[in-house]
């Protein structure tokens, strides 16, 4: 198989043996790592894997591969870093077509030269590839106004498990011809096909972009303040709710905080920065500051890094989806549960959409305490009608806590899709929802 892979993509683009060590996942080493240079080579590798029934793990920047059940076997790691070209960018159309191995940072830098950006801001733009972001449905604070991958991806090319290139959607912002395949592949975690090209819709870079940081004594007050912002005329681009643990992890004081982004034309941004002060002053706000430039960027970056790989003492991360109005109370309960189990926690949330990230800290945190906390969190969140997924945890924890919730009845449709698109079960098998 190794020889065949070398003949398909060229000797220098195949790693074997000890060279594969940077690609070990959950303690399992891949049998080979290949870096195809074109979508045709991706197709050839997949056709070979299908024929030999070897599992394939698509790999972009390697930032979100820990999400999912541990793989039982890592066969071929399919690295996409060589597919990193911008194929088309027509500013007048506000669209770009790119290969998916490009990092988000590199893409934004290029688009920025022409006054545009892809309105996605997940953490780790320097390493995360567009393909990984799409496959993992990664998002950041600005989803509050600009939506997520599903709203921005308008067309794609994927290589199927059988090695053919399939296109879905198109290059125009409005398109209902055929089924919306881009939606299917967003968040599919590499289980249905390998994303090789994407067409995305873009936005103009705003004239002004500021961040207002507001502090509160209590999370409950900060939660009410977030509700007040949502119920006001303000149109923030981001609305982040942070508990005391998250503030401490960022080196900031206070019992709770809001980070609110405003962007647009100067008059809009200035009016909003002033108005939010007026709105929140009677709601328990103890201090606020408007940040711009490097200070603003640094604050957003540190928020994103809070629960990432870079923070070495993160013991586990869980992601919740609940109703926005439930957030503050559930975050308080979550912090209490962690404390009861002897763990430090940091909870942050996209307050307008109801997505929370709950991180547990402590290098020496015992697996029992982590397992207990995650399990209790899930019980509470599921009990409130929400969903909870373990985004990051050591293998010893994942063996005891399911990464995903117990799936609902719709899982049968998901399984039927998987069976039809990947009949041999070679694409990231066994890691996704419902054992897909």
């Amino acid at each position: 198989m190794i020889d065949k892979l070398r003949s398909l993509v060229g000797d220098p683009h195949v790693l074997t043996g000890i060279e594969c060590s940077p690609y070990v996942l959950e303690g399992r080493a891949p049998e080979a790592v290949v870096f195809p240079g074109s979508k045709e080579e991706v197709a050839a590798v997949l056709a070979l894997a299908a024929e030999q029934r070897i599992p394939v793990m698509p790999w972009g920047g390697g930032t979100r591969l820990g999400i999912g059940m541990p793989p039982s076997r890592v066969g071929i790691v399919l690295g996409l870093r060589r597919l990193n070209r911008i194929l088309e960018h027509e500013p007048g159309d506000l669209t770009a077509t790119v290969e998916t191995g490009i990092t988000l940072g590199a893409l934004q830098a290029e688009l920025g030269k022409r006054g545009q950006w892809l309105s996605l801001d997940p953490p780790g733009a320097d390493r995360s590839t567009l393909g990984g972001i799409l496959a993992g449905d990664a998002s950041g604070p600005r989803r509050h106004l600009y939506g997520t991958c599903r709203d921005l991806l308008i067309g794609l090319a994927v290589v199927t498990a059988e090695g053919s290139v399939v296109r879905g959607g198109g290059k125009v912002v409005k398109n209902v011809a055929g089924y919306d395949l881009p939606k299917l592949f967003v968040g599919s975690f590499g289980t249905l096909g390998v994303l090789v090209e994407a067409t995305v819709r873009l936005r103009p870079v705003p004239d002004e972009d500021r961040l207002v940081a507001a502090s509160f004594h209590r999370l409950k007050d900060a939660g009410m303040a977030a509700r007040a912002v949502v119920g006001s005329d303000l149109i923030p681009s981001a609305l982040e709710l942070l508990d005391g643990g998250a503030l401490r992890a960022l080196g900031l004081d206070g019992g709770a905080g809001l980070l609110v982004g405003f962007d647009g034309v100067r008059e809009q941004v200035e009016w909003q920065c002033a108005e939010i002060g007026r709105l929140l002053a009677p709601l328990g706000m103890t201090a606020s500051a408007a940040l711009d430039g490097a200070e603003r960027d640094a604050r957003w970056r540190s928020l994103g890094d809070l629960s990432r790989r870079g923070t070495e003492d993160v013991a586990a991360v869980m992601r919740w989806g609940v109703l926005p109005t439930q957030l503050a109370e559930l975050m308080e309960q979550g912090a209490t549960i962690a404390q009861k189990n002897g763990l430090r926690a940091a909870l942050t949330a996209h307050a307008g959409v109801g997505i929370a990230t709950a991180a547990l800290f402590g290098d020496g945190a015992g697996a029992d305490a982590v397992v207990a906390t995650l399990a209790e969190w899930r019980t509470v969140v599921n009990g409130a009608g929400g969903h909870a997924a373990v985004e990051r945890a050591p293998l010893a924890v994942k063996e005891r806590v399911s990464v995903w919730d117990e799936p609902g009845a719709a899982v049968r449709i998901m399984k039927a899709i998987k069976e039809r698109l990947d009949p041999g079960g070679i694409l990231n098998p066994g890691r996704f929802v419902g054992g897909i």
Binding site: G92, D93, V166, V176, A177, K183, L184, D233, I417
Partner: protein, 475 residues
């Protein structure tokens, strides 16, 4: 079925079925064996199970305003009308979610939440009649999708009767549900994946300020360039609509909305959002239009004038009735920078077929609506319209566009799918369909190129029985 639904909820008399033989595209007709009117998801589930047991096809139908024949019973069988399931079930203002039944008229949702300062953003031109369920099937758009997105960007969850009759939820009221995005797949699947019986949608707060600008141009090319010019200045208006001269004349004849009759093209540009900074943005838009040679640019002075301008735009399709007995509306999409070229080609194609075309469309999205005018009573004219329409779609495909922006493929455009999708692309879509609808009884004969459908295509004109008896005459 009568035992299940009660008398009066099942139609089988051919005269009554005739009402349901078409949608808004009267070129295609197919007669159902029954039309039924359930009032609950349980009814729909029972009907689907019954149809499946009998092996007869079924298709859901809303208001019938579709424009691609998507809700026609192409292979006969059961038409399941959802018009009696039209309630707003729940509105959660704090979380900005409403749960509605599929037969609810689009505009009625905005009416229901309007008093609290909210609205439902997707606004197809037929929003006074079309239903949310139909919008789900077609992933409907509208003028304001430029800024706010189309139906799929506003749907969070769906209760669905699957093609085997099982009732289940896809997604829900919370974001980012785990697993594949089945909601995203279902929206726009044109009724081939099942029947939505409850729909959770986002509702938005009404913007603080709205400004509408009318820009009048001496040629279509200049108006097209203004569209890109506005985007190039870093602005994303809520809507950017273009109306050409033939359409302006029809609209003015019918409604007198204040568009200059001698203009080659007019752009209706709407900005919304905060009051702060609105004037500065309006100025930028006006300047962009002037730079592209607009001969007149003005902002609507008040709400009455704004409504009048929009009335002209939204009533344009109806106004064509003034200038032609029939028209066929096309729905191609192109990259907006290709507008001048493609509009030129559309006119050439129409001329070559001896036809007139009126353009009224979502210029900001590049979503064209050439309306080819014709007289169905003139032999051969309809065939020329169909031929011209095919050529226009080919041009859209050639410039990297799509054959449908919001009307769907349905029966009308299934044979054009290969213009933009390869065999492998279509095969992949087929597999996805098979996962939802393995027996193929749910809205068969649509979307994919096929020749099995028993659909009547041709002049919609037929003599009424009283004409046949010589008791009346059309003129």
């Amino acid at each position: 079925m009568e035992a299940l639904l009660g008398r009066g909820a099942v139609l089988s008399d051919p005269d009554e079925l005739l009402v349901y033989e078409s949608d808004g595209l009267t070129l295609f007709r197919a007669l159902a064996d029954f039309v039924v009117f359930p009032t609950s998801a349980e009814h729909v589930s029972a009907l689907v199970k019954l149809a499946r047991r009998e092996g007869i096809p079924f298709v859901a139908r809303g208001a019938g305003t579709g424009l691609s024949g998507g809700c026609l019973p192409a292979e006969g069988g059961l038409v399941i009308s959802l018009m009696r399931m039209n309630r707003v079930l729940e509105v959660d203002y704090e979380n900005q979610v409403a749960v509605v039944e599929p037969g609810l008229v689009n505009l009625h949702l905005s009416w229901a939440v309007g008093p609290r300062g909210f609205y439902y953003a997707p606004d197809p031109s037929s929003q006074q009649a079309c239903t949310i369920g139909g919008n789900i099937a077609n992933n409907s758009g509208g003028p304001h999708t430029l800024k706010y997105g189309v139906t799929t960007n506003h749907v969070l969850g769906l209760e669905v009767v699957m093609p085997d009759g099982e009732l289940l939820w896809l997604g829900g009221k919370t974001r980012d549900p785990q697993g594949y995005d089945l909601v995203g797949l279902f929206v726009g699947s044109e009724g081939t994946f099942g029947i939505a019986t409850k729909i959770a949608v986002r509702i938005l707060r009404k913007p603080q300020a709205v400004k509408t600008v009318l820009a009048v141009f001496g040629c279509v090319e200049a108006a097209s360039e203004a569209v890109s010019g506005i985007i190039g200045r870093g602005l994303i208006p809520a809507a950017m609509e273009m109306i050409d001269q033939l359409t302006i004349e029809a609209v003015e004849d019918a409604f007198g909305c204040g568009y200059p009759r001698d203009a080659a093209a007019a752009l209706l540009i709407e900005l919304d959002g905060l009051a702060a900074g609105m004037e500065a943005q309006v100025e930028r838009v006006i300047q962009a239009c002037r730079d592209c040679g607009a001969r007149e640019v003005r902002a609507a002075r008040d709400e009455a004038e704004r409504q009048l301008l929009w009335k002209g735009r939204k009533s344009a399709f109806g106004a064509f009735g003034r200038v032609s007995p029939a028209y066929m509306v096309m729905d191609g999409v192109i990259p907006r920078t290709k507008l001048p070229y493609v509009l030129g080609r559309v006119n050439e194609i129409a001329r070559a077929h001896g036809l007139r075309v009126g353009n009224v469309f979502h210029a900001g999205d590049g979503n064209l609506h050439p309306n080819i005018l014709y007289d169905p009573r003139k032999p051969g004219e309809e065939a020329r319209v169909v031929a011209a329409g095919g050529e226009i779609l080919k041009v859209c495909a050639e410039v990297g566009g799509s054959i449908s922006g919001e009307h769907g493929i349905g029966l009308e455009k299934m044979d054009y799918m290969p213009l933009i999708f390869s065999e492998a692309d279509l095969a992949c879509m087929h597999r996805v369909k098979d996962a939802f609808n393995p027996e193929g009884l749910c809205n068969p004969g649509k979307i994919f190129p096929n020749n099995k459908a028993c659909v009547e295509v041709g002049p919609a004109y037929r003599q009424h029985p009283i004409e046949e008896r010589g008791l009346a005459q059309r003129f």
